[in-house]
Symmetry: C2
Subunit: 572 residues, 2 copies
């Protein structure tokens, strides 16, 4: 397929021809700032700097966009983005270069294969090469300092001073401690050096994940790479490639080589494809081959449904919506057709050894999560959670990084129990939930039904929120759905950060509200999650320069603007 | 302007020419069912009946749409809708017909004026004609039986039997008790006989309000009537006409004569228009004239900012966003410019007498509500709330129905305190909140930032949620914004009903999820809040009949559909 020429309709692109993809236009008045490390001089953390007050001041924002939000970056999708972590990984001298053990015959990614020369990294000796292993041994890695700087983005400026929220900087040593305790992870496969380190843990900013990926019915490589770039530009902290259709290996290669955020997958999907969709023909051997293939490519975390035990399946039989996790349903069917225990469970130690050899993190899948309000918090769900808690300890004994997945569909009053049980049963390993959706009755709007639950569970302590798009239950999300999902979840995560008292979060609300009260319209737009949308809605009624300097808007008009009246009071 | 010819682009209309407005097309497979009263034989409560399982079963839904969701209704916007309550009001024999004391010269509503012959109703003697007065005197009115039947819509069917949620019917006597205790209100101006009674109180279904109305910058009569009809078709329980622009009296007349839901206003807006926008020239006399004019027209509840006391204003001075309530800012400016106490406070008893003469309910405005996260739950806000609590008791002493307005912008962890303080300070009078918005940083998406807070505060006990549209902070909502706001708030209210354990709410989630698991696609769409949107999103990838009978969708495709796999397990 050669080189992709990306043109993303509906989003401002830098005028360019050919091989560049650039979303920096979605943030007018923003530019990229790179902050150097102190422990490691070759660390350079990208942040987004929003110019405000006619350029006399600025505001720093945590930026997941990598090169896609950098006006200066030259980006060739056909060759992949900068390999930020390459030297850090090599310098640790605990990995060696080996040839890929799995080169799929159907591959069309000739450019990547040539560039990489089929070389990859893997543990050189017996010890795992995970961030957890380093942390347990008292080592602060460049990845740890990187995320410490990143999390401090807003603390570094004085803008939250008026909020009364105490500043307390995140130190690299604090990061190390959280990783060592298993309370946080930095997904960072040694074969995904393009990834900018980020941390998932409840003592850090709440993160969000965007799911992309094709299905047998829809979508191809170009569309999926676009979705990834758009998602990270708007703030996705990780991206999961859930492709289940054709060309899975190649789609993943294009995505990983161009992704500045960690990539997650559910390997059982590709394993099932390898046995042509016949669940009975799955085996641990096929699964093992698949996770090695994906670990070599650079996937940063795997969802593994090892907690769907044979004996638990009966508890899902009387549910309204049975088993709604794809991986869960696959493993349940396998267990019953062979009358055997889940092979992901019985081979868990072996899986841990593979994960540790590349530093692929576990995301322990909740195969029995509830798919409807009526099924929430039932026996099937919590029995599995208990098993996931046992698997967390096994993963840790192999020094593997691990997080635990959670539901699903849960009415508001039952959300907190999910978080409390997870903290207790899973020894405080990070929780990573899908929503939860707080009602079943709004297909077409499940980004909203679930943003409600996501915000709440984020406040209660969930470390990462997996987005839900308007297309949930109805079809494969397109690029507009991806954007709607990402923005909805940035809102949920930010609302959770505020409720948790994070000073970075307060600083941004404070700065935006000041701009609002001062009628600095452009500052209000530019400090928001989606400046172009905010501006275009304002343009609908008061387009042009006049509207942007007016001390009112069309909602109330000049005589009825409360802010205008209120400012006059203050100025008395 | 004569007769309006409404054609609403983007929504399915019954093929008709001329004078009819019909939103029944937005609910395919639905028809209207009318349930008769038992205490009062002339009660006929409209509900929406969704045909499911190929027409072999049906599901009843609470319906706010009035004639707009009735395929059979003949509707002439130029003459107004059916006067449902006319006989009930007359039969009470406590009102008499009088001529309008206020006929604005600029009126163009010739048809209505002819039809009404400028006759209106008003208390005949000294006693108030309020639902509270009747309830206090042990009388169950037709309005009370009507809302009891309405609230029972879903309890009347067996569909929630599988949910384990206990059925307990709402009786007319229970409604009377709640009204008598002041815990609930039925806004029902004797001059708005077109209104279908609905109840606002925390022991009933959570309600939502949609704001419409023009500003000096935008919009006219036709647009506003469209917004009202669309809002009620999608589920708005009340509508506030917040017009501040030209032709306020006439816009309101068209809206009231065609509205099947209670209409609220903020009379100070029109009062300010009468003094040409010069706040200093406001007086109680102008205000009094205005509320009489609006009470005569049929407005069902007034937002009155009587709690913005002169001494409280200083507490708002150091806020990030000062005073963000339009009414609050107006009254604050008046107090300071005259150095006098708020005339709405000093004349509160007189206002009560007027309200009681027509049964206009109070919605005590929170003029000092926070307009940014940083200002939430501050002294200004809670001082005013305490005063509102005192005013509640005065209103009750006049047998006036009253609810209390709440914020605003509040981070999640501070939401509960708002509800608790309101219950305590305001003697359990119903709470009616605007959102709250859980972050300031997403202009363009404030229907979502606020749906999060609205769902939570609804769960905690708020009786009615005032919607926020995507246009909030940016401009006057258009008809698409109105729809987005209404759907978002139906989600929030429903999520709150679920969290409160309301069996009606559970029944719908249960029925929809059963349809989902059975791959009854059309049933899933038709049981949802917005069937046309759900179907159109599904159509994007699997259009036509084939996609609607498939046991999978494009999200996962046939091999990876968890529900399909899961059903196979159940069927083993």
């Amino acid at each position: 397929m050669g080189v992709l020429c990306i043109d993303v309709k509906g989003y401002i692109l830098r005028p360019s021809s050919g091989f560049f993809m650039d979303y920096s236009g979605v943030y007018p008045s923003s530019s990229k700032l790179y902050v150097r490390g102190s422990l490691y001089s070759d660390i350079s953390v990208g942040m987004r700097k929003v110019a405000i007050k006619n350029g006399t001041s600025e505001f720093l924002v945590y930026d997941t966009g990598g090169p896609y939000t950098d006006r200066e970056a030259k980006l060739d999708i056909g060759s992949g983005i900068q390999k930020l972590r390459k030297a850090w990984i090599a310098n640790r001298r605990d990995t060696s270069s080996v040839r890929r053990s799995f080169v799929p015959s159907e591959s069309s990614c000739t450019r990547y294969q040539k560039a990489a020369d089929n070389v990859l990294r893997k543990t050189a000796g017996g010890s795992p090469v995970t961030q957890l292993f380093y942390a347990q041994n008292g080592i602060i890695t460049p990845e740890m300092e990187y995320v410490a700087i990143r999390e401090n983005a807003l603390r570094m400026q004085g803008d939250s001073s008026g909020t009364g929220v105490t500043h307390q900087a995140i130190t690299p040593e604090f990061v190390r401690q959280e990783i060592a305790a298993g309370r946080a992870i930095i997904p960072s496969n040694v074969n995904h050096p393009e990834s900018e380190p980020m941390v998932i843990g409840r003592n850090f900013l709440v993160k969000i994940n965007a799911n992309i990926g094709n299905s047998a019915v829809l979508s191809g490589i170009e569309e999926e790479v676009k979705k990834m770039a758009l998602a990270v530009a708007y703030g996705a902290d990780t991206v999961m490639d859930l492709s289940t259709g054709s060309d899975i290996h190649n789609i993943r290669e294009w995505i990983i080589r161009n992704s500045p955020v960690p990539i997650g997958t559910v390997p059982i999907y590709q394993a099932l494809n390898k046995v042509k969709g016949v669940v009975e023909n799955l085996s641990f051997e096929v699964f093992k081959e698949t996770i090695i293939e994906q670990a070599e490519q650079g996937v940063d975390y795997f969802t593994i449904h090892a907690g769907v035990l044979k004996d638990y399946i009966k508890y899902a039989r009387n549910r309204v919506t049975g088993i709604v996790s794809r991986g869960g349903a696959i493993m349940a069917q396998w267990c019953l057709s062979h009358n055997k225990e889940n092979f992901l469970y019985t081979h868990f130690d072996e899986i841990c050894e593979i994960m540790g050899s590349y530093d692929v993190a576990f995301s322990l899948g909740d195969g029995l999560r509830p798919g409807s309000i009526d099924d929430a918090n039932d026996e099937a769900q919590f029995l599995e959670l208990k098993t996931l808690g046992e698997l967390v300890k096994i993963a840790w004994s192999h020094s593997c990084q691990v997080m635990v997945e959670g539901p699903g569909h849960v009415p508001m009053h039952l959300i907190k129990e999910n978080m409390e049980k997870q903290l207790h049963l899973c020894s405080e390993a990070p929780f990573y939930t899908l929503g939860p959706l707080t009602t079943d009755i709004a297909p077409g709007y499940d980004h909203i039904t679930s943003a409600i639950g996501a915000a709440m569970i984020g406040w209660y302590g969930t470390a990462m929120l997996c987005y839900v798009t308007p297309k949930e239950h109805l079809g494969l999300p397109n690029i507009d759905d991806v954007k709607a999902g990402v923005i909805s979840y940035k809102i949920a995560a930010h609302a959770a950060d505020l409720a948790k008292g994070n000073p970075s979060a307060y600083a941004r609300d404070y700065a935006l509200s000041q701009a609002r009260f001062d009628f600095r319209w452009y500052d209000q737009f530019n400090l928001s999650l989606d400046p172009l949308t905010a501006k275009s809605l304002h343009d609908e009624s008061l387009p042009g320069k006049g509207g942007k300097t007016a001390n009112f808007c069309s909602m109330c008009g000049p005589k009825f603007c409360s802010m205008k009246l209120s400012k006059e009071l203050v100025d008395r």
